[in-house]
Symmetry: C2
Subunit: 351 residues, 2 copies
């Protein structure tokens, strides 16, 4: 058994088969199970471990507890469409929405598809990279449960609403930009809290809206947006695009991912843009090559070894993990195997 | 004469007529002169003084020095179009592009128009607010001359590329989000430098890429992006959308606004989305009302008097300045009147 500290290296395909089997067992169809599985395992491969199979128990719980059915297109006007997620898994809703957006972009130059009544969709780049792989610009927006206040406020009213843009490059690895709008993720504050460490001023406030270095207090308080009022504005824009415009939940109407007895009311907006509607595709790739060279060869600040394009670090990790396996913490494996036992499927093969 | 400190209050219409006359005098046609004038005076009205008539001397110099002609649509594929700016004023290029995007969105649900070979276009919200006034979602992106490094770098490779989204609201005042991607604008560092004050760590680096509190050193160095690698990613995304995708200049190919003997090679991307392609327009407005109420009535942090939506502070100032006049610094008026003398038009009427 290959171990790194308390983590065990698992082959990506084995993890994929295991996830797929679990999801099928709770009566998800093949396509839905595949979307969820691909999203989770891709996150683990790319080092976004918070959005990987660690989420599987929550998903299994939610989709055996709430009422849901597969999503359906409820409005189609050519360039745009609206999907009712019917409270089904976010990955399947957004995955189908991006497939539709790509079809539309192929035909019209642009495709824009909204989704309402969805759930957590994993990483935003999972969808935009699909557009980039088809030689298109991909865009995705989603709202999420409240963690940020309007700038100057102390009420957690807005989600840390992730968004992504991806662009194709000649070597096949897209530029994949994917962020949420707080200075750091809540997970980083949780880590500091567990280690009993202080956090820097500027990461979070206590629940009264005061700046704090105390990680415990910060966890009860607010995440601070990047750039102050700027990040507040961004997260509001993403909520309007994915929640208000689609007819889905927004602001405080979104339920947290761990509240597994309720649909989350999440909304998404997915889009694709056909590059040759603007400039010839090969010329776009040339220009992306030029930008890549400029960035990779530009001067580094003291102590910096390499400059990266968005998504490049994740891609490196992905190649490494495809080769050597994905490090999964022992306690996550234990939890997953408990779920496997409960559902009567084979445990995760660890070797 | 109404004065506030060294500033003189000028009536918006008088300022508008003065600007229009100056621009006409250098052989800009009515429409181009009107776009530039409206953008400058709207900026002054909304308190974005850095993008107001203070820029007029630079514009007058550029467009009497370089070769340019009016922009033209060089590619139209229904939902999308591409405009060659022919080095004409950015406001006219982007203004026409947004008009076209709105027409397309009315017809197809979405309109997306790229612009290449353009110049500084003023504030990004100037265009998105036009879409919002037509009851649509507006989006705009532009690149700009290099001020930021790739995260970890010390080469100013990327512009502080502004972008905007605007959304209609029932009372007629749109939510108008408009940011550039650095923690603070260069102007704020220039102010500190003039006052001999230090700047906070996190605003900028010296030219070696080291953190600095010295405003002088910072002016020779780099602006720091919001959220570190996140803001770097955003500014790169905006450069790809407005520069690379449109076939315009990008990264270091963009000339600064003050280099008046050269075209700037700036690119833009303007878009409009028809709301009723997703949900009924009245329902969208209801939901925007709900969001507005939530934000305005949510709890304030200690010492905060009011919470604002993006664009709300600017709108308040606009109403005030429409009533009492726009405060223009005496030295700007002097400069403008020198230009008026040079071009043989009437000086600005100050009363």
């Amino acid at each position: 058994m290959n171990k790194i500290n308390d983590k065990i290296l698992i082959n990506a395909q084995i993890l994929r088969d295991f996830s797929f089997t679990l999801l099928k067992k709770i009566n998800m169809d093949d396509k839905t199970s595949a979307f969820v599985t691909d999203s989770l395992v891709q996150s683990d491969l790319r080092g976004v471990d918070t959005h990987g199979v660690v989420r599987l128990p929550t998903y299994l719980k939610r989709f055996t507890t709430i009422e849901w059915k597969n999503s359906e297109v409820i409005k189609d006007d050519g360039v745009t469409a609206l999907i009712d997620g019917n409270n089904s898994p976010g990955q399947a809703c957004a995955g189908k929405a991006m497939e539709l957006a790509i079809e539309k972009a192929e035909r019209f130059g642009v495709g824009l598809v909204g989704v309402k009544n969805s759930n957590h969709f994993g990483t935003a780049a999972f969808y935009t990279m699909k557009a980039a792989e088809e030689g298109m610009v991909g865009l995705s927006f989603t709202n999420a449960s409240p963690r940020l206040a309007p700038w100057g406020g102390k009420d957690p009213l807005l989600g840390n609403n992730p968004w992504s843009f991806a662009f194709p490059r000649r070597n096949g690895v897209p530029v994949a930009f994917d962020i949420s709008n707080s200075v750091v993720a809540a997970g980083k504050i949780r880590q500091a809290s567990m280690k009993g460490e202080e956090i820097p001023i500027g990461w979070a406030t206590d629940k009264e809206g005061n700046a704090t270095q105390n990680a415990e207090e910060a966890l009860k308080g607010l995440l601070l947006p990047i750039g102050g009022h700027k990040g507040y504005g961004i997260t509001l824009v993403v909520d309007i695009l994915s929640g208000i415009l689609t007819g889905s939940g927004f602001a405080r109407q979104i339920n947290g991912i761990d509240k597994t007895d309720s649909p989350q009311n999440v909304g998404h907006l997915l889009g694709a843009i056909k590059i040759s509607n603007f400039i010839p595709y090969e010329e776009f790739l040339d220009r992306m090559d030029t930008m890549t060279c400029l960035i990779k060869n530009s001067e580094k600040a003291p102590g910096v070894e390499e400059l990266y394009l968005p998504g490049e670090i994740e891609e490196k990790l992905c190649q490494e993990r495809l080769k050597y396996g994905i490090p999964i913490p022992q306690k996550v494996i234990t939890k997953l195997n408990e779920m496997a036992d409960e559902l009567g499927v084979d445990r995760l093969v660890v070797n």
